[in-house]
Subunit: 449 residues, 2 copies
């Protein structure tokens, strides 16, 4: 089973196995090159459905696939689970946290993005964002613990704060998150005795004049209406000016909120810094028409790492999955042609397949050129498209099953609170291993405050 790694072949190193990196690797399947894919995680993640993990509708495994499973039949491809910490473009080497130096002839940087708090980095601890499986399970833990705590606590103010959810940012992620939390609150209401979970407040704050500004105005108005129907309070033209533990300031109003979620801005990975090249304000590598980095024809930057201005366009392509995917495919095919001694082909052209966002049960909006869909049809369309694009046949069936089950029963199957050292908390309390005692047991998070 050892790979056919030959020292003499052209070496392609792909950093990151998100939509961009994985597409590039897959496009190189039969190319006469050696491919090394490096990712800090062992799995490719279908980020568009990550909010459903955070709101206990899907399990992590349903939206993730081991990178090496996806690429197992590509005998020219090796996968390393390691974190890249720098690039030496002169020596053509990639440095990893694992202490490896990996030599490349061609480098593809697809390292994605993280959240940006616009200089207020202290907000991150109180209003986390959603990029990885661990982000999602931590957020799921916070949301579910808020209900648990509300059920137990005796102080009215604290209970209100526990039953208030604030989402910052009215783009697709913020809208989908707000809708999903409102639905979660409805679906769990029969499980509690001391609180009315349905009375939970979900507040969506957007700085601009309307939510989902990338959509047609009518569709974004429809989305706002759909959210209102679910009980979500949408506040447009509203700025969050302060976030601290349990308190958010929206304009002049101070809100007591236990759970806050950040969906307002992203910052590209450090790729531009590694290379010492020009970056956009948000840290993207500004790439040329063929997605190479200026001055480095052998280095490509794609997806959320890159800023690409299409010919004649007013602004760069957005940081969404289809852009990353098409960039990866383009770069993969280009490298393959170059390796085969063929003409590398023309510039990158993005084919806009449209945008979609779901608001909740039976409600979504979709816009494809002039075609605008909403309501139940939009929702079914959204569901089919997401199932279709999920990697791995098994995951498709599993997600479909989870969705149909949830639709019929109104139940969520994945309401697990994990990773809180819960084990250790009771060890602390009741078992034979006091050495594992955490400073504060999870359930006491706020109860004694």
């Amino acid at each position: 089973m050892n790979g056919n790694t030959q020292g003499s072949r052209h070496k392609v190193v792909i950093v990151g196995a998100g939509f961009g990196g994985l597409s590039a690797a897959m496009a190189l399947k039969n190319a006469d090159v050696d491919v090394t894919v490096i990712d800090r995680q062992n799995h490719h993640l279908f980020q568009p459905l990550l909010y459903q993990v955070a709101t206990a509708a899907l399990t992590p495994a349903e939206i993730a696939a081991p990178i090496r499973s996806v690429l197992k039949d590509q005998m020219n491809t090796t996968v390393f689970m390691d974190a890249v910490i720098g690039v030496d473009p002169k020596e053509r080497r990639v440095h990893t946290a694992g202490g490896r130096d990996i030599v490349y002839d061609t480098l593809v940087l697809a390292t994605g993005a993280r959240h940006s708090y616009f200089g207020n980095d202290s907000w991150a601890a109180h209003a986390p964002g959603l990029k990885t499986i661990d982000d999602a399970t931590r957020l799921r833990q916070r949301i579910l613990l808020a209900f648990e705590n509300a059920e137990m606590v005796e102080d009215d103010r604290e209970r209100r704060a526990d039953l208030t959810f604030l989402i910052v940012g009215g783009g697709p992620t913020g809208v989908e998150m707000a809708g999903a939390i409102a639905e979660l609150a409805r679906s769990v209401s029969h499980d509690f005795r001391n609180i009315d979970a349905k009375s939970a407040r979900t507040i969506l704050v957007e700085g601009g004049p309307r939510i989902l500004p990338q959509f047609d105005e009518k569709l974004s108005a429809q989305a706002e209406e759909d959210l209102a129907e679910l009980g979500v309070e949408v506040r447009t033209n509203a700025m969050v000016t302060e976030i601290s533990d349990g308190v958010a300031k929206v304009g002049d109003e101070e809100l007591a909120v236990s759970t806050m979620i950040w969906a307002a801005g992203v910052q590209a990975s450090r790729a531009a810094q590694w290379l010492g090249v020009e970056a956009s304000r948000a840290g993207h590598v500004v790439v040329g028409p063929d997605l190479t980095v200026p001055g480095y024809p052998e280095i490509y930057a794609i997806g959320d790492t890159a800023s690409h201005m299409p010919e004649g366009a007013a602004r760069p392509l957005p940081g969404v999955a289809p852009v990353a995917k098409q960039m990866g495919q383009y770069v993969g095919h280009r490298i393959k042609r170059i390796a085969a001694g063929k003409d590398p082909g023309g510039r990158f052209r993005y084919h806009d397949l449209g945008s979609m966002a779901t608001i909740g049960r039976n409600h979504a909006i979709a816009e494809m050129g002039r075609l605008k869909i909403r309501g139940l049809i939009g929702w079914l369309f959204w569901g089919i498209a997401h199932i279709y694009f999920l990697i791995g046949f098994r995951n498709r069936i599993a997600v479909l099953f989870s969705w149909i089950w949830a639709y019929i029963t109104w139940q969520r199957g994945v309401r697990l609170i994990t990773g809180i050292n819960g084990t250790k908390a009771i060890d602390a309390a009741s078992s034979a291993q006091p050495a594992e005692l955490p400073p504060t047991p999870p359930a006491s998070r706020k109860a004694v405050a």
Copy 2:
């Protein structure tokens, strides 16, 4: 939706929602009492399948159910997610880590057990056991990272250690774990380029003369044969005398092992200490014929917390799920009868339904009285029984689907490495939040050693 909690009704407090506690709560469904169930976790866990989560065959959500979901239709029952830290039997109060004092008229202690390292507590960090979802996902992470590291590492000795798995304890858990790891190694072998995952060594160490000593000798010989067929090295009459980072001493032999798993002994929870009553050597509360604690007719101890000697038996009942479940049902019905002013009924009687253990694909053994089953029939029987006993109709379908899928495709769907601050590791390397930098990125765990 607020419960009909009346101050005057008889108050039953159940600590722990494992098989024992949950059965007791369910048996009190229509009783004229107020029930409070306290658990440090929000979910009931189907522990017999936990090893399948640790070996990436099932997801955590498939074998867990939120306690409040299970009990949602019992309007006399309130669920608190909190950790009990003590009991005041004179005042009839339970103290929790969340700072609550909960008053009871009747108390049911079903707080389970933890691993025992027989005084070698330092072994716990190197050879963890398997009791909770977090234990299982941590173990899954260790096992999968061992393969990842082996694929990358250049040192032969280190690679051998990464591809060696040691399981201590030849009871059902150890046997099932050993079989599952051997199967995992086979199923992932196509995904790697630099290693032959199939060559991984799985070593099962048992101190006694045979594995699965609770079974008939022929069946345990069959299990040993089945394990050998999977490539597991079974060492009986062998003692682990030392465990440290990456090294285990079995008898006189020193083994270099990256992944060790403890399945050798348990220690009851602290319930006996809380009450200041007689405990067995392993910390169990020694209960009377009606499962009450001597001197406290209003306190019951059940499941792995209790030691119960049936009339005329040579030794106490084993710490297995059916015992806990039947004890819970017995105690629930007894409390119900007492609350209704009826005769409490006779002593507890355990109905032994037999024992089962699975070794791997198509192989299991089962013993029900004189009936002894093995091979494919045993395996199907094992599967059907476990699906049947899983709580929650949704989980049954999901597990069935996962098993059938894995059987047909030989693939495991859940090979996720999570909870290793993987996110943060690459942040450290490549993004805008250096504040989140962990001391050592996960992938470098050993690579630079």
